[in-house]
């Protein structure tokens, strides 16, 4: 119960930062996907089922926070899949080693890549966009920026629990 409350509080803080402060650190038009990092962290910390739930909840919150814009349910769908995938790497006995080691970045890149491909393939349906070009122009830089942002919790956890 306590861990659930911690996760909810963390989610609210991350969503607030993501919608207010993160646009200031945009490189061009690319921003790190902090909610995705949180979903992956929860999946690695608590397991596949909580990770999948977290993905759905956080994705849904992001969908609503996009105002009247965007496709409601799309972030919920893609982040559910990302949480589910990241949950495969959950190891109860090595939680902090995974979160504080280079494995974390590999998981972020993997789950993030699937997340972005799924997102763009669905989002660009019916539009004139070339989704391969869009993936290279937006998906890849966003993924790399998200992974770079993942270095912060990775080093922090690595140092604290080494």
């Amino acid at each position: 119960m306590r861990s659930l409350l911690v996760d909810i509080a963390l989610t609210l803080v991350v969503l607030l930062i993501h919608t207010t402060i993160i646009p200031f650190v945009a490189i061009g038009d690319v921003v790190p996907d902090l909610p995705l990092l949180l979903v992956i962290t929860i999946a690695l910390l608590r397991g596949q089922i909580p990770g999948t739930f977290a993905g759905f909840g956080i994705g849904l919150a992001m969908d609503f926070l996009s105002g009247g814009d965007g496709v409601l349910g799309l972030s919920a769908l893609t982040k559910t899949v990302a949480g589910f995938l990241a949950g495969y790497f959950y190891n109860e006995n090595k939680t902090f080693q995974t979160l504080g080691g280079s494995q974390f970045l590999v998981i972020v890149l993997l789950a993030g890549a699937v997340h972005n491909v799924l997102y763009f393939v669905i989002f660009l349906q019916g539009s004139g966009f070339s989704w391969i070009w869009i993936l290279l122009r937006y998906g890849l830089p966003a993924l790399l920026y998200t992974a770079a942002a993942g270095l912060v919790p990775m080093f922090w956890i690595g140092r604290k629990y080494a």
Partner: protein, 276 residues
């Protein structure tokens, strides 16, 4: 039998959960335009706008000096232009009277501060400091002194979200000012806009100004959209490739104006019934 089903479901509970949540997500995607969902979104616009407004009180002092210089230069240029336009307007009034035409230039603007920018990959939006209390409604055009910025897509009592031209779903009926060639302005990623459906035979050149067309049901005619940077013929295609540099610089957008006009519902209904 039931126990067996339960055992199977329990053994694959992760996959069952995934399937349920994916189904829910797909259901939500399918019900995007429901009234209840729009109401919840309106609440989130209000909450998000409040948070962004609180963060936005911290001014960017580093830009103030250069911004002041740019504004002074702009002021000078605009003053000259206003004088020229005043002359032209007087002439226009005289000529309209001669021809018996009605005046169509009574546009009103509602000023707003940009309090948040959302860079969600291909869904770029801005949150502005005016809402339903100020008379803002969805689909109203958003402009700056340079030209068209976008349109309102969501409102709460005190805040609104506007979709900018750099958005996957943005389409604007545009016209090349010099040659009057009509097309559809859209964005396909990157820092340029494109003018679609321009036949090869039409006269479009780099440097041409593209403005909103009178065919648009959303935007008043004559608002600057951008300048043609490239017009290229493509072998085997009926249309040319036309790229535009947008008139508005979205990276430095701080103040906008909302034009309080909503599309004529009877016109939209007529067009929709005709297309059915």
């Amino acid at each position: 039998m039931l126990k067996r089903i339960y055992d199977i479901l329990f053994a694959f509970k992760e996959y069952v959960l995934l399937a349920i949540l994916l189904t829910l997500s797909i259901g939500l995607i399918a019900s995007n335009d429901r009234t209840q969902i729009r109401a919840i979104r309106s609440v989130t616009v209000g909450v998000l706008g409040g948070a962004q407004n609180a963060i936005g009180i911290v001014p960017n002092y580093f830009n103030l000096r250069s911004e002041n210089r740019i504004l002074r230069e702009q002021n000078l240029t605009l003053s000259e232009e206003v004088n020229r336009l005043r002359e032209a307007r007087l002439e226009n009034i005289r000529l309209r009277r001669l021809l018996g035409l009605r005046d169509t230039t009574s546009t009103r603007y509602i000023a707003a501060r940009v309090i948040g920018k959302s860079l969600q990959l291909l869904r770029n939006t801005i949150t502005i400091s005016v809402g339903e209390r100020d008379g803002i409604r969805p689909l109203m055009p958003v402009v700056t002194e340079r030209g068209l910025a976008g349109k309102i897509v969501a409102t709460s009592a005190g805040y609104s979200v506007a979709q900018v031209l750099f958005h996957r779903d943005m389409r604007v009926s545009g016209k090349v000012q010099r040659s009057r060639a009509d097309g559809i302005v859209a964005w396909e990623g990157g820092s340029m806009l494109v003018l679609r459906n321009i036949a090869k035979t039409l006269d479009v050149q780099a440097g041409d100004l593209v403005i909103t067309s009178e065919y648009s049901s959303l935007y008043p005619a004559g608002i600057r959209i951008g300048t043609v940077s490239l017009a290229r013929q493509v072998p085997g295609s009926l249309f040319q490739v036309v790229e535009l540099v947008p008139a508005v610089d979205f990276a430095t957008l701080e103040e906008v104006f909302v034009i309080p006009v909503v599309p004529d519902s009877t016109r939209l209904a007529l067009e929709a019934s005709f297309q059915r």
